[in-house]
Symmetry: C2
Subunit: 434 residues, 2 copies
């Protein structure tokens, strides 16, 4: 088809012609990609997103909150009221930083965990806290810069770091979280090698995926080490209020307003489909953070912000968090019971105090990635550990989520998983003998 005819006759040429033209275009455009583009990968969590939906499968994969316990009638009524009575505001553009009302309420939510000095002026509402991670990289990271993180850590953050061509360098963790001495040593090593270390990305409470919590006694030490080394702390705390005993630990941000960027989210304590998160930013960094956020989305969705505000205003949100807490505590206990009952010798797992996840360790040299297929055949889905580590090596870990399924299904899922893991353990034992 001659090019000048294209616009005026959008009739479809035959399949072969289309395929040929596409191949030629793909070839022509290959060198137009940015260097970073090759680094942007599919998340393993997303890989299994569709699989998890298959009927009959027990999904221990996705960290979805259990929305059945939300007051849907009330939220629906709120949405109706907002659109019909305040639609001209709720459906219109808003300020880039988020509504003043929501930012004020976010300070109340943070006070619940012990951040008592937050100023709404330093809160930036974001499209989920994923977007806040993207903004932090945009503001602070040149290609080649280093970000420190736990190993394992949140797969979405690792993807963001890769998309900014940032080197994610793991800091060793034990069952009480980041090891301060190791953090100090790692920073010194990296500095000595000429690396630009920009921030420590950490999920101190009920880490995703490990479920491990940074010990209260270590928290200030971690911030002090970072401050001393002039490394910012990016504290990602979506689960903090979901500590099973109802007594959340003080966030790293609490006494450290100038050194910690704190990321919060309504995804786990209300609803992820609204995509409303936030960053509490040190006052001297607020403007650059806010402008970067505005440059990506103009403003967070107004209706969603007002819906969260209305919910916080009119509903017993603390009570709702209590309901979630008890629910997840029960499910976590069910998962730990089932693991105790069914798991083969040679496996171990974490015992979280809150959050959504248990982290299972298989014997060394077992790669959990190929086990996923056998697990799916057995009727259960998990996320292989390799997804959550900055290293490219195979992983002998796997993540199990207890947030989204009933205690019965958790037990059933673990029961189905056990023989798959047992076979792998056995196979590994035979290999190491021969």
């Amino acid at each position: 088809m001659r090019s000048e005819e294209r616009l005026n006759s959008p009739s479809i040429p035959n399949d072969v012609e289309v395929a040929l033209e596409r191949a030629v275009a793909a070839h022509r455009h290959e060198h137009l990609f940015a260097e970073r583009a090759a680094n942007i990968k599919q998340s393993a969590v997303r890989d299994v997103f569709d699989i998890s939906m298959r009927p009959g499968l027990v999904s221990l994969a996705g960290g979805n909150p259990f929305l059945q316990s939300l007051p849907l009638d009330k939220l629906g009524g709120l949405a109706y009221q907002l659109v019909t009575e305040q639609g001209l505001t709720a459906l219109q553009y808003g300020g880039g930083q988020g509504t003043a009302e929501l930012r004020r309420q976010i300070c109340e939510v943070m006070a619940e965990e012990g951040i008592t000095d937050a100023d709404p002026a330093n809160v930036v509402v974001t499209v989920g806290s994923q977007s806040a991670q993207d903004i932090a990289c945009k503001v602070f990271c040149n290609p080649g810069d280093v970000v420190l993180c736990e190993d394992p850590t949140y797969v979405g953050a690792l993807n963001t770091f890769e998309s900014y061509q940032v080197r994610a360098e793991p800091v060793p963790v034990d069952d009480r979280g980041l090891v301060p001495e190791e953090l100090e040593r790692r920073i010194a090593e990296l500095r000595a090698s000429g690396a630009n270390v920009k921030f420590l990305y950490t999920i101190p409470s009920f880490n995703n995926p490990s479920g491990i919590t940074l010990d209260a006694g270590r928290r200030q030490q971690i911030v002090d080490i970072c401050r001393e080394a002039n490394v910012l702390v990016l504290e990602d705390n979506p689960y903090g209020l979901l500590r099973f005993d109802g007594h959340p630990l003080l966030p790293l941000r609490a006494g450290n307003p100038d050194d910690v960027i704190y990321l919060g989210s309504f995804s786990k304590i209300l609803a992820p489909g609204l995509r409303i998160g936030w960053a509490l930013v040190p006052a001297h960094l607020q403007r650059r953070f806010y402008l970067a956020s505005e440059s990506v989305t103009l403003c967070p969705p107004t209706l969603n912000q007002m819906l969260v505000s209305g919910y916080l205003e009119s509903h017993d949100w603390r009570g709702q968090i209590g309901t979630y807490r008890r629910l997840y505590a029960e499910r976590c206990a069910a998962m730990l019971d089932a693991l105790d009952e069914f798991m083969p010798a040679g496996t171990s797992w974490t015992r979280p105090d809150g959050g959504f996840f248990v982290w299972v360790t298989m014997p060394e040299h077992v790669d959990t990635y190929p086990l996923l297929h056998a697990a799916i055949d057995a009727g259960v889905v998990f996320i292989p550990g390799a997804a959550f580590t900055p290293s490219d090596k195979p992983s002998n870990k796997l993540r199990l989520a207890f947030s989204a399924v009933s205690t019965e299904l958790i037990r059933e899922g673990v029961r189905r998983l056990a023989p798959v893991l047992e076979e792998a353990v056995e196979k590994r034992r035979q290999e190491s003998r021969s």
Copy 2:
């Protein structure tokens, strides 16, 4: 306060101590910023966002759609139904590319303008089309790369380009839009100078801010020149369906599926507060575009997507666009009448066929930026032209929006603006004499 005490006693030190600590932290953290951070600026449109809200002022500044004509009761009812009956889906995480239903419907919306071969698999739902511009830069632009654009062009896009350290190079425009010969010449010049030209960013219909439309007869020529030079086209078309005569021009994408990334939005034809836009991406570029989008936001807000879907499904959205079209046509006519009546000699302006904006030109060497203050004193707000151009020079242009205010207020706003401009013209005349 000793650091180990901070976390455990979040009592507030005195003001001086806080201010000192902050200043020290600001100094320490200054070198942690990424190179791009200094490039991320406040948009001039945002600068006047708050001012525009002052009571008594007539704002011809913001390009807000007129939401009063929306069926708010119906939308509220839909929102209620979605949350109460499908809340477990609407409030949960969704797929990163957007819901299958909305992507299918988006293809119907695009068909209304003459894009008849769009495949929902190549549609990526984004958080407004601002976010799609960010993603396009993420996927294609290294620092120092060149993007071609109209001059003037959308301020939000210019901000995005700056945030990616991309050079925005203007291509001359006449009253029929981009001049093909100039585009060809500019690409050749830039190539000769060693520049990496990645894409042409264009708003072909009712350009923001100029209101100018790319002539139908030039459209295929523009795409052909880009294809020949192996430069992608990023077509930003939020206003296309708002052509006053009801006969939208064929988008550049229509006959060119492999060479044009098309950006659409529900912000102008439904509601910007939902932040739902989309990109229709050539099949061979779809995966990288989609993954980059997912890396920023995980998924677009589910409730908002379902609300748009419900609206498109159950409401006469074509009729609603007709209502908008007639309304904006009437307002545009009122603005052009008022300009004819009140504007001083030496000024001229565009006469758009659609969209939201009229672009006023003052005599050469008049800088419209300082006139903003006098205008605010006179009770009217506009956006100075300098905001919309990649150049750093003062601008003798200004943007007037007719979308958000009644015909009476448009007339009143222009009446208030006229003496401010007249004084500037007169002052300029005297300066040029002396």
